[in-house]
Amino acid sequence: MSLIDSVMAGLSLVGNWEAFLSLAIGIVIGVVGGAIPGISATMAVALALPFTFPMEAINGILLLLGVYKGGIFGGSIPAILIKTPGTPASSATILDGHPMAERGEAGRALGMTLWASCTADFVSNLALIFFAGFLASFALSFGPPEFFALILFSLTIIAGVSGESLLRGALSALLGLLLATIGLDLVYGTNRFTFGDPNLMGGLNFIAVLIGLFAIPEVINMVWHPTGHVGKVQKLGSKWVTFAEYKRCFRSIIRGSFIGVFLGSIPGIGAAPAAFLSYSEARRKSPNKANFGKGEIEGVAASEAGNNGVAGATLIPLLALGVPGDVITAIIIGAFMVHGLQPGPMMFVLNVDIIYGLFIGLILSSGILFVVGGLAIRGFRPVADIPKRILMPMVLVLCIYGVFAVNNNIFDVGVMFVMGWIGFVMGRLHIPPAPFLIAFILGPLLEDNFRQAMLMSGGSPDILLRGPITWFFWALTVISIVAITRGTLRAGRAKG
């Protein structure tokens, strides 16, 4: 199929009002969800997922991508107005955004946030379109040993960067891998930790695990400390961002977008490190570096460009290799699975219409985000005023319905409740949940590819090093382990 044919096939899927509406609704849900402290972009995507079941695959996935992009932008609104990031990705935005809000320039900061976010989002989407197909065509030649090495590399990155401590991240990933072993064995069909219960033979339901891990702990946290969320909302002020200011910050925005694209395309790094790196680079290069941290608009632009630059790029490993780029794309895999799609290089062969439909939808999403984001900035106050002690019971009920709807099985609701407590305890012990979920998804793939490789070689481990591709991923794995270990040891020494 030629490029024109592929684009036309994609257009035939998304060239209708349902697709456009799904994307727009997704962005609205994401912006509102991201703007409510306690409902992160991750939780918003997880809660929206069950509502996509009756939709066409392309519309459902577009809705979730809209929630993702809207959520990342929406998180910056409370970061600036109440000094509470709606999502972890917006943490860097507080540094200059909140001082601006305290000076009565919240509207100006939020305006720059919107412009920087949409620019970075557009750059990130273009990067996805240019690189995903190239990477997928390369990955078509991968066999089980290559996929095993790739997934192992992804796991080392995830364990190393997703928390305060390498060991806690690794423990979280191991727990996820262990839980993924529940069910019938992939090769022999024998029982593993099923205790004779037919509900466990297919393994734990992925959506019950993810909603349990990301939504229920927030409800439990609210039960533990019901008044922990109260903050003071700053006024927008009369000043608004000007085009001249956007032009002045443009270099930082583009630099931040590329930092976001680069870090986002590496599985597991996510938006928060990209935002901080983009912020620190902007400060290093800016003539106004002394103003950074005191309310410098370029700081807001850089951090927002960094975190939004990630949003399209995280889909590169997801679509091209079937490996989630971050925890939100790990959840979006659920939407692909529910609709019988398996992200990865074969999707570029078998479902090229969906791939190009997604590309077209994503390009549109930057424009929709600009419109919805502008309205959300002005309408934040009612969103911030939703009482959390009513919102969280709503979340609980949404979770119950959503998880039940996956398999029409009450057992899954029980799994979600148990996972919620596990997630809460993990939070209290400062064990990050993201490596758990990503390992839970990648675990069966890792084991399956390992055992297929062993079957191919008659049990000889030499096959795991059979060619340049496996050498490349093994080298990356070793380098990342060494780098992470050195970084952790240095941080430990610095703490004393």
């Binding site: 069950p50 509502f51 079941f53 009756p54 305060e164 060991l167 806690r168 690794a170 423990l171 191991l174 727990l175 891998l177 262990l178 072993t181 064995d185 090769v187 022999y188 024998t190 029982n191 593993r192 930790f193 205790f195 409800v219 439990i220 609210m222 039960v223 533990w224 400390h225 019901p226 922990g228 009482p387 002690r389 009513i390 969280m392 019971p393 709503m394 609980l396 009920v397 949404l398 119950i400 319905y401 039940f404 709807a405 029409n408 009450i410 609701v413 919620g420 012990l429 400062h430 084991e447 390992f450 055992r451 062993m454 079957l455 008659g458 049990g459 481990p461 430990g492 703490k495 004393g496």
Partner: protein, 157 residues
């Protein structure tokens, strides 16, 4: 906390290797190569969990601070009671759902949770408790064609 977490991980690893994997993972007797056995992967993960636990214990002993600390809350005892209450609410919700139906159970769970956390808007909570499960029922039962459990008492259209 780091040391205790590490000890916990080691105990889990020991439990896995000594008891859980031998008893709860079955493997065909004719598997020639250990790496192809269904037992291989769980044993590897069990061993790695033990190693990570050991790492946590050693790093906890080496660092003076003892790991990150949780933000304190005004009344931890009341918090613990609320947590216990919520655990009971979850079990009751799970048990009641097949008998009362998902809609009625959700309404009760909503109200119970809102009052457990002492909402300042009781009237709004009750209204939401009725409306939200009904809207979700309408969506999932009539749009998504999901067979929402109706229970033995009152059935919805």
């Amino acid at each position: 906390m780091q040391v205790r977490l590490g000890i916990g991980a080691i105990l889990v690893a020991i439990f896995l290797v000594i008891h859980a994997i031998p008893n709860w993972v079955s493997s065909p007797s004719n598997v020639g190569n250990i790496v192809l056995s269904p037992l291989f992967w769980p044993y590897i993960l069990g061993a790695l969990t033990g190693l990570v636990g050991l790492g946590l214990v050693l790093s906890g002993w080496r660092t003076a601070q003892g790991g990150p600390v949780n933000e304190p809350i005004p009344d931890p005892r009341a918090g613990a009671i609320r947590l216990a209450g919520f655990a009971v609410l979850m079990v009751a919700t799970f048990r009641a759902m097949p008998h009362l139906g998902m809609v009625w159970t959700s309404m009760l769970a909503f109200v119970a949770l809102a009052f457990l956390v002492k909402t300042r808007h009781p009237a709004a909570a009750v209204i939401c408790a009725v409306v939200v499960p009904l809207i979700l029922y309408a969506f999932f039962a009539h749009v998504a064609s999901v067979a929402i459990p109706q229970g033995d008492l009152v059935r919805l259209p």
